[in-house]
């Protein structure tokens, strides 16, 4: 057995990098990052477009530039990294005993490492055609948008010439522009829901700039082609999201890109026995990003899908700091008073799911997503008896844009019962 680490971070994307840097800052000295790719940076390495870091660095950086800033910061620390190393299993230690991390690499073979704390930062993967079952033949030419992004931006392949995009998530929108600039014809972007899943700014600068039509409330109902995609049929869907006969449009194209959502990559988390949240597909976490297993923390896309990397970094720094505190002996009380965060009307999930009332500092960060598009609305925070604790105003809300609020710690400590977060839309604009 090798030396005992204080902290092992699984995944060297922006989440893992920020968590490791912060834990170093807080005084940990035996930190190791395990990354299965041959370099650090995670998915940012293929996101060559700009728009990262506006909040954090007040600059518009590209993905590789943003990752570069953190990789440089890491280089100033003594954090160890092992690349080309895939983590296979985490065995939680009983009763405060060290956790075991099992990993494998071509260079060092099978490794069993011991550590006091673990930060899970494995990111997410894309939903595929299989995951959403599109009818039609199974020719080549159907890619997830992120796979096409990697082929084009890192390996130098164009995956097609006449492209249809299913789903209006940010990666699909970004790829619509990227493929157009490289000379492909992007025929349309087709979205099942009546609203886009991507950021408004991406609809403007990726679709409208290039006159690419966006068909909301539409979906693919057939794909034709024997070896390669040749024709795709798109139909309008009704409010029940079922295709409406007679509304078919036929596109001659050779490529379909799927941008139909991301799934947090949690095989390790589940196998370790952490409590999961069905709505986020990630582990349930407390206010300090600790999972239900003491000493195992999680941050970034593995907890819930973020649209902005700036939030990933901030969240991961909290996880890194909490992991350091855990190693330094500041552990949460076993019998701490728990305050559940409940999803009220219009809210599809919150992170954290539970707050340990006695652990919170001055402010608690709460992230959530809404489940419908609204105009001006209030985010209402109420206690178990329905009394209003506080509220926040928003000019508009959309499921494609993650919301962030700061709850005062005192409010949480004094709250009676669970706290519910709900959306209250203005009726005639007079609501409080």
């Amino acid at each position: 057995m090798e030396k005992l680490y204080e902290l092992i971070v699984i995944g060297g994307g922006p989440a893992g990098l920020a968590a490791a840097c912060q834990a170093w800052e807080k005084g940990l000295r035996r930190i190791l990052i395990l990354e299965r790719d041959s370099e650090l940076g995670g998915i940012l390495n293929q996101c060559i477009h700009s728009g990262f870091g506006l909040q954090r660095f007040r600059e518009e950086l590209t993905g590789p530039e943003y990752a570069g800033r953190f990789i440089e910061m890491l280089a100033d620390t003594g954090v160890e990294t092992r690349l080309d190393t895939m983590v296979l299993q985490i065995v939680p230690g009983e009763q405060g005993a060290p956790h075991q991390v099992h990993a494998v690499s071509a260079k060092e073979g099978y490794q069993v490492l011991e550590t006091q704390a673990v930060v899970l930062a494995m990111g997410c993967r894309e939903r595929t055609r299989g995951a959403i079952s599109i009818p039609g033949e199974r020719p080549s030419g159907i890619f997830t948008a992120g796979a096409a992004q990697r082929y084009l931006n890192m390996e130098g392949y164009m995956v097609g010439r006449r492209v249809l995009i299913l789903g209006s998530g940010d990666i699909g929108l970004i790829m619509a522009r990227r493929m157009t600039l490289e000379g492909a014809k992007v025929l349309a972007c087709v979205e099942l829901m009546p609203y886009s899943g991507g950021l408004m700014r991406n609809i403007v600068q990726c679709l409208q700039d290039f006159d690419i039509p966006l068909y909301l409330s539409h979906t693919i109902t057939d794909i034709k082609g024997h070896d390669r995609v040749e024709q795709v049929t798109v139909s309008k869907v009704g409010p029940d999201r079922r295709p409406i006969p007679g509304t078919e449009m036929v596109f001659d194209c050779d490529t379909v890109l799927l941008s139909v959502g991301l799934i947090p990559e949690n095989e390790l988390t589940r196998a370790a026995g952490a409590d999961m949240d069905r709505r986020t597909n990630g582990a349930r976490v407390y206010e300090n990003m600790e999972t239900s297993i003491p000493g195992i923390f999680a941050c970034g896309n593995v907890v819930h899908v973020h649209d902005l990397v700036d939030y990933v970094s901030a969240e991961s720094e909290r996880a890194g700091a909490a992991a350091a505190a855990y190693v330094q002996g500041k552990r949460a009380e076993v019998n701490a008073r728990m305050v559940e965060l409940k999803n009220g009307d219009g809210v599809s999930y919150t992170v954290p799911q539970t707050i340990r009332a006695d652990e919170v500092g001055k402010m608690v960060d709460v992230f959530f997503r809404v489940n419908r598009v609204t105009g001006a609305a209030a985010i209402a925070v109420r206690d178990g008896e329905g009394n209003s604790l506080t509220g926040f105003r928003r000019a508009h809300l959309a499921p494609g844009e993650m919301e962030h609020i700061l709850l005062p710690g005192d409010l949480v400590r004094q709250a009676a019962g669970p706290i519910t977060i709900a959306i209250e839309e203005d009726k005639g604009g007079a609501a409080q």
Binding site: L54, T62, G68, Y157, R161
Partner: protein
């Protein structure tokens, strides 16, 4: 009155720009939005991000961007210019790849560093670009090794 969505930051403020009134902007939450609104109607510009070929490095593509925004109408011309260059590793982050791109005053700069060696060690064009992995044909242009240029066939395996 023109309605726009500000794309300067993820907030996506809805702007109204009054062309008849000295391009007065309303709806913006910060001064950058006002500037964007005015420019968008007078002389729309964008930052271009793309890749250029790189040889002799650990990767075969280098992400690049213009260090300032260039006129929107010149994006495709700028793409042509970028696709015509091929740099040699090592590349430093921020290194100027094309100076004063098409006379716009903007430089095309490297978005990351790329070390020497690794998967594409020599300075001959990387194999992915040189021949199609599908047909073995030589590729003439940058992307003619598109998955499409030919009927896709199974990736050739040693027989």
């Amino acid at each position: 009155m023109k309605e726009l969505v500000c794309i300067v930051c993820p907030r996506g403020c809805r702007l109204q720009v009054d062309e008849e009134n000295g391009y007065a902007v309303t709806g913006n939450s910060c001064p950058r939005g006002a500037e964007y609104g005015r420019n968008e109607l007078k002389n729309p510009t964008r930052v271009l991000t793309t890749t250029v070929r790189v040889t002799g490095g650990v990767h075969c593509r280098l992400p690049v961007k213009t260090d300032t925004a260039i006129p929107k109408g010149m994006l495709f011309q700028a793409m042509e210019a970028a696709n015509a260059v091929c740099v040699e590793a090592p590349v430093q982050p921020g290194q100027v790849i094309i100076e004063n791109l098409l006379g716009t005053g903007a430089n095309l700069i490297a978005g990351r560093g790329i070390g020497k060696g690794g998967a594409f060690p020599d300075t001959t064009p990387p194999p992915l670009r040189g021949t199609s992995p599908y047909t073995g044909e030589a590729c003439r242009e940058r992307h003619s090794n598109s998955f499409l240029a030919h009927r896709p066939q199974p990736v050739s395996r040693p027989s």
